[in-house]
């Protein structure tokens, strides 16, 4: 970190709580717009509940479409949120400080979006989903089938959601105490209740620091398991070609990290633009995450390449035909080209330039580009994989999403945006105590004629 803006505790409180104590003009408009899109999606969902899944473009054999694509996409976004926070905490990377909270909150809202995107809406009769997820059907004596990936999925996602929500809450307690001390009346009482009577004793601080590291260490294996299990939703099926790949679990995980870290970078840029936190999120932070993205993107591209090598090397007719469909047949070929360009060929060469990595607008464009590509990647895995006649199916098919599905995809994006906007109005998006801790251990040291910012830690 080369840039160093020294701020007092009072200045940090004022700066970073500005999103709570003052309402920017754009905030109600943006939130209302998200709410309208969200409610429109919910109306589409209600319509689908009433009429049945026949109002979607789903059919036999393409039984998964936009919903499942969106589910995998949001699970992917949720992963890097916690991943980046956990790894940076464990390695005590200084540049983590302003971005951990936003990354963790993005995880929570993305996971809820993923749950809204597919598992609950996809089953035809969502009100009966609990019967095959939770083991409580005492009256009928029918119990859940633990051998099904659709039981592994809810157990993993719910574990991850519980863990990441608690992670956010535990790390939020000291900041809740700050808001409690700066508010009055009933508002102060509510924040005081949430802060659990935090006072800032040495034991409490010690446990807060240990908690950050310990929970990171515990959440990381969960994060790896969740996307592995999502990949097994595909790999454990015996029908579609191109899904039986042992590489699917690590390929999905690295893809999730690629899209998720990009999403965190996008959120960082948006936070600076909306809340003017440029003294806390500096070009140095973007530069660091840009470098990380080059490595992550290249690792993902390697797995993408391997998946193709394995697929083509077998020389199996159905597998080759499916790949031909993906690459040479319209509209899939056009999507494939867009996917490869937006997910890798455009952003990564751009990130090689320091000026791009340190530029907020360019980082916004390139990271959004990655997520357009990664959404298409999931689409190209799911839909062409199902279109061809399979050994245990008897028909060919195609897929065109209906307006209901499009509205519900838009709904999940609106949900995440709205969630982040609402969170920012009630809780600080940058952890104040973490920033203050960074200031305590920061100094400028003189080496020859140069003054270099230094961080001192235990």
């Amino acid at each position: 970190m080369q840039e160093h803006h020294h701020r007092t505790d009072k200045q940090i409180n004022t700066d970073l709580l500005s999103s709570i104590f003052s309402t920017p003009k754009w905030w109600p408009i943006a939130t209302l717009a998200c709410l309208i899109v969200y409610l429109t999606g919910m109306t589409a969902f209600a319509y689908m509940l009433n009429k049945g899944v026949g109002v979607t473009g789903l059919n036999r054999p393409v039984f998964w479409g936009f919903y499942m694509v969106n589910f995998v996409f949001w699970i992917g976004i949720s992963h890097a949120g916690i991943m980046i926070s956990a790894i940076l905490r464990l390695t005590q990377a200084e540049w983590r400080r302003p971005i951990t909270r936003a990354a963790e909150v993005l995880t929570v809202f993305s996971l809820i979006a993923a749950l809204q995107a597919a598992p609950l809406v996809h089953v035809g009769r969502p009100w009966r989903a609990d019967l095959w997820v939770f083991p409580y059907d005492f009256s009928r004596g029918i119990w859940i089938n633990v051998k099904s990936p659709f039981i592994w999925d809810p157990s993993a996602v719910m574990t991850y959601l519980t863990a990441s929500s608690l992670f956010v809450f535990v790390c939020l307690i000291p900041d809740l105490a700050i808001i409690r001390d700066r508010t009055k009346g009933i508002v102060s009482k509510i924040y005081g209740f949430l802060a659990l009577g935090w006072r800032g004793t040495p034991v409490q601080w010690k446990l807060q620091i240990v908690a950050g590291i310990l929970l990171s260490a515990l959440v990381l294996p969960v994060f790896v398991s969740v996307h592995s299990i999502v990949s097994w939703d595909f790999a454990a099926q015996i029908g579609p070609e191109a899904w039986h790949s042992t590489i699917f679990a690590p390929y999905f995980i690295i893809g999730a990290i690629h899209s998720g870290v990009s999403a965190v970078a996008t959120v960082m840029v948006v936070m600076v633009w909306l809340f003017k936190w440029d003294k806390y999120i500096t070009p140095d932070h973007l530069d660091a995450i840009g470098r990380l993205l080059i490595i992550v993107a290249t690792a993902w591209f390697f797995f993408f390449f391997l998946e193709w090598v394995y697929a083509l090397y077998t020389l199996e007719g159905p597998e080759l035909a499916m790949r031909e469909l993906q690459v040479f047949k319209m509209p899939w070929s056009a999507m494939f080209i867009i996917f490869v360009i937006t997910a890798y060929l455009f952003p990564v060469p751009m990130w090689l330039f320091k000026k791009v990595r340190r530029n907020f607008l360019w980082m916004f464009i390139t990271t959004i580009s990655v997520n357009i590509g990664m959404w298409l990647e999931r689409f190209l895995i799911i839909v062409p994989g199902l279109m061809r006649k399979q050994p245990l199916m008897f028909n060919w098919g195609s897929y065109t999403p209906s307006i209901v599905e499009i509205l519900m995809v838009a709904m999940t994006f609106a949900w995440v945006l709205m969630g982040m906007l609402l969170f920012a109005r009630v809780f600080p998006l940058i952890p104040l105590f973490d920033i203050k801790e960074g200031m305590v251990g920061r100094d400028e040291i003189k080496i020859g004629r140069a003054k270099v910012p230094a961080s001192i830690r235990e």
Partner: protein, 171 residues
């Protein structure tokens, strides 16, 4: 708890807090009777105090064991209660059971860790005792909690140690 009173002195810099702590200790207050309140995590020993002790690491281990047992009972119990042969595999098929047992283990570890953090931090705390909102603005507080008859002495010590402000609270 109710027969104790507390008093807090507010300081602006770390060195004066360290000096004040020495004086508080020299005045006969035991280490269990005073604590430092800060709005920022400081490195251990900044104020010459002892390193805080905790037993947090026990919690995830106990939680993981509980979670593993619940996962095992859940998966085995479900399959025995509803014996559905899938793909010609054994009824108690280990690989799918492992997945849910793994998630149970991790969930147990995480839930117990969070419980441990809250328990070891002695939260929730219903009565704040002597406290000042300036602490979250950068002031450092020394809070002495003792019997009511020692409050005057505590106030004197804190004032003589250079506290900018001294105020009383109750436990």
């Amino acid at each position: 708890m109710f027969n104790k009173r507390s008093v807090i002195g507010l300081f602006t810099d770390e060195d004066s807090v360290a000096d004040a702590l020495d004086k508080v200790s020299e005045s006969g207050f035991k280490s269990t009777e005073y604590e430092i309140l800060t709005g920022t995590p400081y490195p251990d020993g900044t104020f010459g105090d002892e390193e805080p002790k905790h037993k947090l690491y026990r919690f995830p281990i106990i939680g993981a064991m509980c979670g593993f047992i619940v996962g095992l009972l859940l998966t085995a119990g479900n399959q025995i209660a509803f014996p559905l042969i899938t793909g010609g595999k054994p009824l108690l098929s280990i690989p799918p059971m492992l997945i849910i047992m793994y998630e149970g283990t991790m969930l147990g570890a995480i839930l117990f860790t969070v419980f441990g953090i809250i328990f070891e931090s002695r939260l929730p705390r219903l009565f704040m005792g002597a406290y000042d909102t300036k602490i979250t603005e950068g002031y450092i507080g020394i809070c002495i909690t003792s019997s009511p008859d020692k409050m005057l002495q505590a106030e004197e010590v804190l004032k003589n140690s250079g506290a900018e402000e001294v105020k009383r609270g109750w436990e």
